[in-house]
Amino acid sequence: MNLQIIGQMAVSGALMGMVYALIAYGFQLTYATSKSINFGQGELVMVSAFFSLTLLDLGVPFWLMVPGGLVFGALLGLLVERAGVRLALEEKSEGWVLLTIIIGLFFFSAAENIWGRDDRPFPSPFSPDSVQVFGVDITRQEIAVAVGVLAIMGLIEIFKRRTLLGKAFEAVSADRDAAELMGISATRTVMLSYALSGGVAAVAGILVSPITTVGPTMASALILKAFSVAVVAGLDSGFGVVLIGMALGALESLASFYIGSGWREAPGLMLLILALAVRPTGVFGKAGIRKV
């Protein structure tokens, strides 16, 4: 096979991987502060996408819809934190696993009944035509996704490093107890992380919708991939998710081509189990030493 075809597949897969990475980044945000993740994150992506679509249908211009969707996603994130996570964290139990799944299930049902069960197209300001870069076809939409993913992650990283609130976030991530002793409210910081994570989910929804279409099940396949990316990269790996996301996406494309499309996911899954066995804290995660 010639290089051009390999390049085409690697690039197409990797661009899809950027979306995994963005959702995975949402997992990282909440894991950093609270060691919990929202297993219903996919439903957050989906409901926010539907909400943004409704905004567009109501005639809200595109530039206003994006922040609108983002705020909506952040509010949902706060709801998840309040209803599903806080109690479990206070009791140091793992109840959040089930509660976040359950809340996701409720969002799913609500979306089915409010917006219908069908997949719908999501308009995009970018033309669906493709441009050629070194002989590889890429649509403008895909470029927008890549730029959007990096932009939102970059913004949040800057926020964490440059603002007082962001530094509180980092402090709680590093050592929750010590941060509390310094007068930083861990509860507020966890709320902030869930709001950010919800906002990231909404942005992911808006970015990916023109490609995936908007429907109740739009994110169910994405979310498992994103979870894989987050864990394999390391739940504290920051931009590591982008690399792992792109690698996984490209690997799937290539496996599909060379091994057979039915086995698309198999090599990735096996590598994943092996990677975890070798590096339990993730490829880019901080390896800890056993302490007593």
Binding site: K35, A83, E94, G95, V97, L98, I103, S109, W263, V292
Partner: protein, 653 residues
């Protein structure tokens, strides 16, 4: 006894009821639901091993259900197996693949374990879907239920088979989980490090637990195949897995009854909710219960406001929504979600956890009395202290990156001594202990116990060769009671092979073990708190429990890592007294301690470390006056030490 009778009685009543239902009710649908209930009961009991006892989020169980189902299905259609051999094949597939998956999954915990098992589910789906030649792929595999010993089973007959198997699984698991095995599995959930350090192999038990749970998944799969008689790979995916997980948690973890109740919920609820009337009755009742228990909890301040209000709001939504919505079938997922939400928030211990507390109060069942403690001479027979060389460390080094925590240390511990190990913070005391006990392998050097090399870098093997230790930062099995903590570590009592344990024929051994454990608790002054969970003990009591647990190993060498840290003065006095009594039984001790008075009081020899090297050794009085020791403790001018002990993170305290 009364408690045991009640529990056995309830179990008997349940199975008697299950067995007679088909005689009383002729409805085929009811029978179908009950059959599925029995199958799911087995499935969830298997899942509870990992989710409840190991405390891990296992997302791979559904794959074993599927693989077991296909093993049975292919066995029947391709190889003409009969029902017993097909079910055995299904169980074997679960067992073997479960052990295989346990190998990489072993090192993982939390989200990583969840992901590894989830990936296995996805892989097994791909495998079943793609191996069209073998499994029929997406088009499914149709099979007919083979006869059992030459008899074609009617639906009733098959139901009875499932019920009998459930009863067997129930009995076996009860015996296993209440045995040393069950305790070990729970122990490694709370502290894998301590489990290893107590000579109970984390590896072995984790693999065994996971493989056992998976084998039950496979067995349930075999029954599933014969129940539905049509298999498709897409049935065994994440969606079903989530439902199973909910079943276990809703029913109540670490409980056979819980698994059964969970199975009833996940089997019956979705199917009954289609009936609008039942839905309204259930939601109305739910709201009432949420209101009553919520308001009661608020008034008595036993529940947090959120815990009281959230179920009320959610059940209220359900009742209100139920009246507004024209077609409840459209909202079935939402309805299910609201109900689950109320239960998970309102009853975090699951329905059975809640019911158990309630029932105990209702029947005022006293726990079974403890046996009389064994004689201490029997538990810790006196040993002669001959002063021979017990432990020899020769030029031991342990480096963490550039930090030389232990840097060429040589020392000898003689049998029957209390050997003190002291030194300023960061002098390498704890690292020495961690290297001897096998937490870290040494970077170089030799360690000999009674002249034989000590296993390197394995807590488990070091413990097995006669070294027992306590931990400066407590590593108790916090969910286990005090006596259970000791039982886990108890060495040389449990001899019955696994099959006898499974059949419940190891009771005498268990009684003996309890008596022994109680003797050790008595030695530590904890006899009256034998049934208190370790996490509920006072800090001082927890320190003593650590020592009791280490003694249960009947060690040659006992290492006490700062046992007096954080103790109040009266407790320190008691500690000194207790250590002395332990010592009198001829057990050699290495004592790491900051309190100089404790050291002076107990130790015959003291080794002083600084910068990972020995700077002095001798009697407590001698080393106190040693100029290097004085300098190390008082003078902060030693350049070597500053270089050796920067505040680098890998140095454990």
């Amino acid at each position: 006894m009364k408690r045991l009778l009640l529990i056995r009685g309830a179990e008997l009543a349940l199975f008697a009821l299950l067995a007679t239902v088909p005689l009383l009710v002729a409805n085929a649908y009811a029978l179908a639901l009950l059959t599925l209930l029995a199958i799911y009961g087995i499935l969830l009991i298997g899942l509870d091993v990992t989710v409840g006892y190991l405390g891990q989020i296992n997302l791979g169980h559904v794959a074993f259900l599927g693989l077991g189902a296909y093993a049975a299905g292919i066995g029947v259609t391709r190889f003409g197996l009969g029902m017993p051999s097909a079910l055995a094949a299904a169980t074997a597939v679960g067992l073997v693949l479960g052990s295989l998956l346990a190998l990489p999954a072993l090192r993982l915990e939390g989200p990583q374990f969840a992901l590894a098992t989830l990936s296995f589910t996805a892989l097994s789906f791909t495998f079943l879907n793609e191996m069209e030649g073998l499994t029929g792929g997406a088009q499914g595999l149709s099979l007919t239920r083979p006869p059992l010993f030459g008899h074609d089973l009617s639906p009733q007959g098959f139901y009875w088979l499932c019920t009998v198997l459930l009863a067997c699984v129930w009995m076996i698991m009860r015996n296993l989980l209440s045995s040393q095995w069950g305790r070990a599995i729970e122990a490694l959930r709370d502290s894998p490090i301590a489990t290893d350090a107590m000579g109970v192999g984390v590896y072995r038990h984790k693999v065994a637990a996971f493989a056992l749970g998976s084998a039950l998944g496979g067995l349930a799969g075999g029954l599933y195949a014969f129940n539905f008689q049509y298999l498709q790979p897409q049935s065994f995916v994440y969606d079903l897995m989530v439902i199973l997980l909910m079943g276990v948690v809703l029913g109540g973890r670490k409980s056979l009854w819980g698994a059964f109740v969970g199975a009833s919920i996940v089997v019956l609820l979705p199917n009954l909710l289609s009936n609008r009337l039942i839905f309204q009755a259930v939601s109305g009742l739910g709201l009432l219960m949420a209101l009553v228990s919520g308001i009661r909890g608020l008034l008595r301040k036993t529940t947090r406001p959120f815990q009281a209000l959230a179920p009320i709001v959610s059940m209220g939504l359900l009742v209100g929504g139920g009246l507004l919505v024209a077609n409840t079938e459209d909202w079935r997922k939402g309805i299910f979600a609201l109900m689950l939400f109320s239960v998970v928030v309102g009853l975090p211990e699951g329905l059975m956890g809640f019911a158990a507390r309630f029932l105990v109060r209702l029947f005022r069942v006293a726990p079974a009395p403890l046996p009389a403690p064994s004689s201490l001479d029997e538990v810790l027979p006196s040993r002669p202290a001959d002063g021979s060389t017990l432990l020899e460390l020769i030029d031991l080094k342990r480096h963490f990156g550039g930090v030389k925590a232990v840097d060429g240390l040589s020392m000898t511990v003689r049998s029957g001594q209390i050997h003190g190990l002291i030194g300023p913070n960061g002098s390498g005391k704890s690292t020495v202990v961690n290297v001897i006990s096998g937490l870290y392998p040494p970077s170089s050097g030799r360690m000999l116990l009674r002249g034989k090399p000590l296993p390197l870098g394995s807590l488990y093997r070091a413990a097995r060769s006669g070294v027992a230790r306590t931990f400066q930062n407590l590593q108790l099995f916090s969910e286990l009671t005090a006596i259970e903590n000791v039982l886990v570590a108890l060495n040389g009592v449990y001899r019955s092979p696994l099959p006898l344990v499974l059949l419940g024929m190891a009771r005498a051994e268990e009684r003996h073990a309890r008596a022994d454990a109680l003797a050790l608790l008595e030695l530590m002054g904890l006899k009256d708190q034998a049934r208190t969970k370790a996490k509920d003990l006072t800090y001082g009591a927890q320190r003593f429990l650590e020592i009791a647990r280490a003694l249960a190993r009947r060690p040659d060498l006992l290492i006490l890592d700062e046992p007096a840290a954080g103790l109040a003065h009266p407790d320190v006095l008691q500690l000194i007294e207790t250590i002395r009594r332990v010592h009198q039984r001829g057990i050699s001790i290495i004592l790491i301690e900051h309190h100089m008075d404790v050291v002076s009081e107990l130790c015959t020899v003291v080794t002083v470390l600084d910068g990972g090297r020995v700077i002095a050794e001798g009697s407590p009085e001698d080393v106190k006056r040693h100029p290097k020791v004085v300098e190390a403790y008082l003078g902060q001018t030693d350049r070597d030490r500053e270089a050796a002990a920067p505040d680098a993170p890998p140095l454990p305290a």
